[in-house]
Symmetry: C3
Subunit: 332 residues, 3 copies
């Protein structure tokens, strides 16, 4: 495997094989598998799980890693082509990325959406400006519209819990004080579709996921025997649900318009998940979230602390699935 | 050993055994003892010695570590229960700590006192809010009222220098531009008491250590054959002293009242340790400080640079004592 | 080797031997050469290449490293002797450096020029205030007037590309929005002189390198069969050049005078390297820069992206030359 940047680049069977490897590494550690190998981790945005779990994954496999935080001890990076660099950024990714790549065996990059221009974010302009600069094995640590490591960990979580392949997976918008990127909802949607689930995107008006994201998921679902649809009706969507996957995101129909977004979300503080959301769901219905989550804003304590919540298992699964990715990528 | 959060959790004999192990590891390195083991280091506050020496300790024993700095490349953490998270903190420790714990074999946490409410700080509210969330081996990297790694290094320093067990140990307040936490004075006091020394807490009026801290130390002293008392009279306290342990701390009697603290300390710039403080001390009297220290504020150059000063040895001893703690905790 | 702080401390033959070792380590990795060894990296200023490549170098040789960033998760450091520390800095280097040194086998320090007082920067006041505090092996990660690791990587780059020993090496000033330190121009100048090249320093009026820097380079050139001179005439200097080494730096003749510097450089935006700079250069003339570089401020895209540019090779060479330094320093 040369690149792990989008789960959609893989066939369903390839994902299942990665998850098989993840389970094997959980049971049979390989503490020298990546001896001498180096992973460079470039974080343009904050992180806890990704930052910690990738360092741990390399260590568990006997390898090494180092972290670069532009603007925090390292130079601010410019990503736009052709600009006259006389502002804050001291370095262009055209120099920075190949330099970093020359010091490692694989490179991970985190670059969130700018949140201003939807077309640019959908095109992964920033991430691709960097990804295109190296031939080294590359891992997407979360880009504008993607988070394949989280999606893979979520898939493993569903498998661990024996959630039926054809079960109902409700991806629901939740309230947050600010407009957040679409990376996790897009990745979770695609993951559930590719797994073959009955996927419903539950969101208020103005927050529909971009048509191209929905369409890609529909095609993945079609190949895997699943389905994808949208709803703004909570009770209907959650009726018989096996999974409620919660995520906060920006007002897509007024993307980049902070004022419109704030106006829209000001009426939506009721979109904080409580136990009564599960009244008509399947008895075993799971509550998922990629974390970090703002308690009592997006999800109430009562729900997060209930037996339904599997957010800790999702977080813990980051380690074995990333070990599997690194193992496939760097094991000689 | 599952937890190293408070030296007071250990019997005197257990501490002596840890120090014995530390001395053994100094002489006989065990470069593979913790091969494959991972220590997660969570720093909510700045650090130099702790940050460097724990990473070095794991490396010396063949293990690995990674560092998480909330608010500096990682999400700001909320520690209070039940709050509506619509402010600066993106993540609650209830999610963050178990996630981190799932990526490591042991977790170290640094969380200074808030310095507002003495009862809350004495109860270790912030540290315990995190410590209670994991069953993994846990190390206190300095909490509101404790710093067991520093205390252990200081004990080893006293032993290295053959300071008599029953010697006079004067813990003296010193001037600092701001009110600092009580963690180190409380930990040093308890350490010296548990070691069996004649301990005198020398401090100006308004800066007495909290009664509960003094009482715990008195009980430890009683078990070890030592004693603990207070004084505001420098000459009397230092008469025949074997050790002057210097530390800056907040005005405890007006704890959290910044204005009162500033008023009190404005008259106390004379509490900057100079060579003439030692006039009536034992000829071999040592000058100790946990570092960092503000030169010519808390201690004058002439004293810090004198032969009495053993602050470097204290800092260097952080490494072997922490190796011993990690060895006992993680060696399978 | 106990210290690698200035390329001028080494004879030409010693440098050639280091480069020989670097080439050997490129071809024949020694993944256990520094097993158990620890490098402490102290960065008082931002970094990408140095930060990444030193961590990678230790990992490639089986060793370990850790990074300390004062003011970013670690205490701000005071370097001046004798001051009353009642400001922002919580720790003096007199305590901090020996403490760090006690946790490692070698220490790397980055401390840029203050840019206020030329005599102080030429005397390496800040770097030496730290370097004098430890007997441990020490590496200069860039000081006020030096950057020996970059110089060594540049020398290797010249050798890799078979640039003639007696070739013409033009070190040219380039525009930058702010006055930058003299470390790289001084180090590159000395390197080329010591290599035995015909060195020309091309710079506008007001930006001449300090006489003492020029004189040291002239002496090195004399010993190696090279030469050093200055010019303000671009066409003349670049006539037949084998290398154009570009660097931005401060107005030396008004050093520390921000207003004068800004006035001088405001007329010099034409000092942005374009392809037409090479019209009279040797056909194979190389374009070098230590990075980071501000595109279209110091060097135009057309030049940086041309086949002449070897900036990536310079960056990549940081790894093998630093592995060689560490190998000589720490291999027992």
């Amino acid at each position: 495997m040369k690149r792990f940047v989008d789960l959609a680049d893989f066939e369903r069977e390839e994902v299942l094989s990665l998850l098989e490897l993840a389970r094997r590494l959980e049971k049979q550690p390989e503490p020298r598998a990546l001896a001498g190998r180096i992973l460079a981790l470039l974080f343009l945005n904050p992180s806890l799980r990704t930052l910690a779990s990738f360092q741990a994954a390399m260590a568990r496999l006997g390898g090494n890693s180092f972290v670069i935080n532009p603007g925090r001890g390292s130079w601010q990076l410019e990503t736009r082509p052709g600009v006259v660099m006389d502002g804050a950024a001291a370095e262009h990714v055209r120099e920075g990325i190949p330099a970093l790549a020359s010091y490692c065996d694989a490179l991970g990059i985190r670059a969130f959406a700018e949140g201003k221009d939807l077309a640019s974010d959908l095109a992964e302009t920033t991430f691709n400006a960097m990804a295109s600069l190296t031939e080294k094995p590359l891992i997407n640590l979360e880009s504008a519209l993607n988070h394949p490591c989280q999606a893979l960990a979520d898939w493993k979580t569903l498998d661990d819990l024996a959630v039926p392949r054809a079960g109902r997976f409700v991806l629901s918008w939740a309230w947050h004080p600010r407009p957040l990127p679409l990376a996790v909802p897009a990745a979770a949607l695609h993951m559930a579709a590719l797994r073959g689930m009955e996927v419903i995107v539950l969101r208020p008006e103005g927050f529909a996921l971009p048509p191209v994201v929905m369409e890609r998921a529909r095609q993945a679902a079609a190949r895997s025997g699943g389905s994808v649809r949208e709803s703004a009706e909570r009770e209907e969507a959650l009726d018989g649900a096996d999974v409620l996957y919660v995520k906060e995101w920006a007002a897509t129909e007024r993307y980049g318009d902070a004022e419109a977004d704030a106006r829209l979300r000001s009426a939506l503080r009721g979109w904080c998940v409580r136990n009564d959301w599960f009244t008509r769901a399947a008895p075993e219905c799971r509550l998922m979230h990629c974390l970090p989550v703002r308690r009592n804003s997006a999800i109430a304590d009562e729900a997060l602390d209930s037996a339904r919540s599997v957010v800790q298992r999702e977080a813990a699964n980051r380690l074995p699935v990333q070990m599997a990715v690194l193992h496939q990528m760097l094991r000689s």
